[in-house]
């Protein structure tokens, strides 16, 4: 490689930083002529600030964050694009042992089924309200996170008003196990390894998973400073290819042990490899004693897992509107849609000869089973991609989707 691009990327010590870490550790970035510097951060706010002042050119971001930035919902909002997703799934909802016992008495089973556990939770919430007990408190990591929106979606679809019937607070992931053990919170929706940590430490029980609430759904994206991306198209394209190769590597079960060991290192997550293996293998510890196998719990590469679907961006936007974070206007829809950049993804990855979706958006929930779809290059299989309650999100019908959700409140 002739000239090295130096790219500094911020990341949070979470399992789905795996693609960035593998791009660095397994030489994929180097092979593209990129000197990739990974900088671990302590909060999403820090990552956003350091993107804004140019310390970072790219970062591991919560998938809704770049949209929130471009909509001006956060301080130091700087134009940010998402040219790639960093995998699908990877989150779960964990509840305290006390709450799980109450949910079990109402019919929840340790099979992670969102409908059944949601019905049980609704019964517990109703009983508590009738007894004038304080509302249950759930923690998520950030207001503009997949965790916040999927938790609220699950609760609302199960007849629980997330704004009235429960309290939702923000807690940094590493503090969640202690908060759950201390009873400061009754449940949480967080990425790995924190559900596994809560389960293995005996502090809680995994009630359901993101991969069941909304199958094939995005969690983190690669966020890039729009200004930097425009000035450095070759560097960005090289990075996207490196991360794509890293995603292929991470997706192979032969590499899961090695990946877990790398991520467990002090420069990355600094937590035991045993906490990281369940998310990679899909063999989740639902509590300290029992485990349950989840197909496609976290998908690094298969099913176009790194493709930045505009329908994903628009669904996140619809939930920002639903929970009063932003007003619904045609201008805002356009901002959300333009934040995700499948055009840059396709242009960068074309030389790799991998399967590339030909569409920029899809109807979320249309695929009930794994289905071959139109692609450029090798054949591509997508789905199932449905919401657990069977509803569809058609990005072309976003107005009526938003109106329906407002009416249902």
């Amino acid at each position: 490689m002739a000239e090295a691009y130096r790219i500094t990327a911020g990341f949070m010590p979470l399992l789905d930083s795996a693609l960035l870490v593998a791009a660095n550790e397994k030489g994929f970035a180097q092979a593209e002529g990129i000197d990739l510097q990974l900088v671990r951060e302590t909060s999403w706010a820090n990552i956003r600030d350091r993107l804004a002042v140019g310390h970072f050119q790219v970062a591991h971001l919560l998938a809704p964050m770049p949209i929130a930035c471009n909509l001006g919902l956060t301080p130091l909002a700087t134009p940010t694009i998402a040219p790639m997703a960093l995998g699908l799934g990877g989150n779960a909802v964990t509840v305290s042992n006390t709450l799980w016992d109450a949910m079990s008495a109402e019919g929840a089973k340790p099979d992670l089924d969102p409908s059944q556990s949601g019905r049980a939770l609704q019964a517990v919430v109703a009983t508590r309200a009738a007894q004038s007990k304080p509302p249950l408190r759930f923690a998520v990591v950030h207001p503009h996170s997949g965790h916040n929106y999927e938790l609220r979606y699950w609760l609302a679809a199960c007849g629980i008003d997330p704004a009235r019937d429960v309290e939702i607070v923000i807690v940094p992931p590493p503090l969640m196990p202690d908060a759950l053990a201390a009873g400061t919170i009754d449940g949480l929706c967080v990425g790995e390894p924190w559900n596994t940590a809560c389960a293995l430490l005996g502090h809680g029980h995994i009630a359901t998973v993101k991969a069941a609430i909304w199958r094939s759904s995005p969690e983190k994206v690669l966020g890039a400073s729009a200004h930097w991306a425009e000035e450095n198209p070759e560097a960005l394209a090289g990075l996207l290819r490196a991360i794509c190769r890293a995603a292929v590597w991470c997706g192979s079960s032969d590499h899961h042990r090695e990946l877990a060991e790398i991520l467990a290192g002090p420069a990355y997550l600094g937590w035991p490899a045993e906490w990281l293996m369940p998310a990679l293998s899909g063999q989740l510890h639902v509590n300290a004693q029992a485990s349950f196998s989840v197909e496609h719990f976290f998908i690094p590469f298969a099913k176009a897992a790194t493709f930045p679907w505009k329908s994903h961006a628009l669904w996140f936007y619809s939930q920002m509107v639903r929970w009063d974070q932003v007003a619904h206007t045609p201008g805002n829809v356009a901002i959300a849609r333009e934040t995700y950049r499948p055009d840059l993804y396709r242009a960068a990855l074309k030389p790799l000869g991998i399967a590339l979706p030909v569409a920029n958006a899809k109807v979320e929930g249309a695929l009930h089973t794994a289905t071959p779809v139109g692609s450029a290059g090798p054949s591509l299989t997508l789905g199932p991609d449905g919401f657990f309650d069977g509803s569809l999100f058609d990005p072309d019908e976003i107005d009526s989707y938003i109106a329906r959700q407002q009416r249902d409140r």
């Binding site: 706010a45 804004a52 301080p75």
Partner: protein, 201 residues
């Protein structure tokens, strides 16, 4: 120094007690006496509601920043919305703050000229603290290497019958010849001596 007609109320959130007191001293010297310092974010919502601060200064290392930011945006708790910094067009200040590892949140409607001195003070105190911490680290590692060199000298004096001055000179010469630090040579020597004669350690 007390030129502020009505001094702003300032809340400093910093888990590092020494740094917090360095900032506190700076702000008090500058005449800001409506000042509260908090080390622990437990119960912070209630404190903010009681204090109604005009400016909140927080260190960027605090993992609770996402929680705090979310709280600042919920006017239910803080009554008045709080924005980050005062004027986003002041890019130089923002960069200086992020470089220094500090952030400031300000209630809406405050004028930049009232807040800037506070932010500047926090930035300079954060930088001074980082410098102090770096120097302390250097002193610590200096002390550490001195201990290592003393042990290596002792080994040379015992095993080769050298005087203290000759043992030191030998270490120094070896380090110069190999273009390495004396403490590195001393460490290698201690390791080697440990391997050759475990009873020595």
């Amino acid at each position: 120094m007390k030129v502020h007609p009505v001094t702003l109320s300032i809340l400093v959130i910093d888990e590092n007690r020494i740094r917090a007191s360095v900032i506190e001293a700076g702000l008090r010297d500058a005449g800001y006496d409506r000042l509260t310092v908090v080390h622990d974010v437990n119960g912070i919502a209630r404190r903010i509601a009681e204090l109604e601060p005009d400016v909140i200064v927080i260190d960027l290392g605090n993992p609770n920043r996402d929680m705090l930011e979310n709280m600042f945006q919920l006017s239910r708790i803080v009554k008045r919305p709080i924005a980050m910094f005062v004027d986003q067009s002041d890019q130089a200040s923002i960069e200086a703050a992020v470089d220094a590892g500090v952030s400031a949140y300000v209630v809406d409607g405050l004028k930049q000229e009232r807040v800037k001195p506070i932010l500047d003070m926090a930035i300079s105190r954060f930088n001074a603290f980082s410098k102090m911490a770096r120097e302390l680290d250097e002193v610590r590692s200096e002390l550490e290497s001195r201990k290592v060199i003393d042990r290596a000298k002792g080994i040379l004096m015992r095993t080769r019958g050298l005087s203290e001055a000759d043992a030191y000179a030998l270490l120094r010469k070896t380090a110069m010849n190999q273009n390495r630090k004396m403490s590195e040579i001393a460490e290698s020597l201690i390791t080697a001596a440990g391997l050759l004669a475990p009873e020595e350690e």
